[in-house]
């Protein structure tokens, strides 16, 4: 049985998805924390020689992984390691804060693994990484600190160890 709070969030997400003008009103009510400065690393390699990974905040994970926590009003700062050697049908989405009906039908609209595989086969990119990372974009309150100080640096370190040359960031 799904908790009433989750049903409410899903209902709001569905309504916002159907009426774009309501999305504008909704987003005007929420102010994300302002970042200081802009991090910057220059691109070093041609695209056709670069290993590319995706970091998504659309709530993507494997079926056998623990879903993101949808009961905590402050969200969930954890991440899931996504292995794209597994079939696309092995991925699911847990995220009550947007309507992912369309992304459930075609994951590529939030996690474009098939399109990047085509780019790899056509030698447009050097290589698609095997390992990618999934977050759930709703992170607030006390979880922001966990995300910034612990989870995001962990993912950055793993991308570096994997020899990834550039990262594509996809939202919900």
């Amino acid at each position: 049985m799904i908790e009433p709070a989750r049903l409410k969030n899903r209902f709001i997400a569905r309504i916002l998805g159907k009426f774009p003008f309501l999305e504008k009103i909704f987003t005007s009510l929420y102010y994300p924390e302002e970042s200081e400065g802009v991090p910057w690393t220059p691109v070093k390699k041609p695209l056709k020689e670069s290993k590319i990974a995706i970091v998504t905040t659309a709530g993507v994970h494997h079926r056998d992984q623990t879903p993101f926590d949808m009961t905590d009003p402050d969200g969930d700062p954890s991440y899931r390691i996504l292995d794209v050697r597994k079939p696309i049908g092995d991925f699911v989405i847990t995220h009550d804060y947007y309507d992912h009906t369309d992304a459930d039908r075609d994951l590529n609209i939030v996690f474009p693994v098939d399109r990047l595989r085509e780019f790899e086969e056509a030698s447009i990119i050097g290589r698609l990484a095997d390992t990618h990372y999934g977050f759930m974009g709703h992170v607030a309150g006390r979880h922001i600190d966990t995300l910034v100080r612990k989870k995001a640096p962990e993912v950055a370190g793993m991308l570096k160890s994997d020899g990834v040359d550039a990262v594509l960031l996809t939202p919900a």
């Binding site: 916002l16 998805g17 774009p20 999305e23 987003t27 005007s28 102010y31 994300p32 924390e33 302002e34 970042s35 400065g37 802009v38 991090p39 910057w40 690393t41 220059p42 691109v43 070093k44 390699k45 041609p46 695209l47 056709k48 970091v55 659309a58 947007y98 309507d99 992912h100 009906t101 369309d102 992304a103 039908r105 075609d106 590529n108 609209i109 939030v110 474009p112 399109r115 990047l116 085509e118 780019f119 056509a122 447009i124 910034v148 995001a152 640096p153 993912v155 950055a156 370190g157 991308l159 570096k160 990834v164 040359d165 550039a166 990262v167 594509l168 960031l169 996809t170 939202p171 919900a172």
Partner: protein, 95 residues
Amino acid sequence: MIERAGIPTAGITIVRKYTEKIKPPRSVFLRWPFGHPLGEPFMIEQQRAVLTEVFKALYSVTMPGDIIDSGFGWRREKYDRYSISGVKEELDLQP
């Protein structure tokens, strides 16, 4: 964090004013519905169009925090030119 680890990033944004606050280094803005950063299900050329613009932003943005407005008009746009052969030359990108 990823940039601080020495890896360049480029992203998609649906809500421009959030991106202006969060300040990722390179972004492509799409005036599209939530949950559809790469477009509609099974619209392969549309999805490729977005990736093309994001990779171009990765190489073309020189001002940290720049947001490129794709100008894509959702369903009003024609995406036919974004075949694999159509984008290959455009994406022969060098630092």
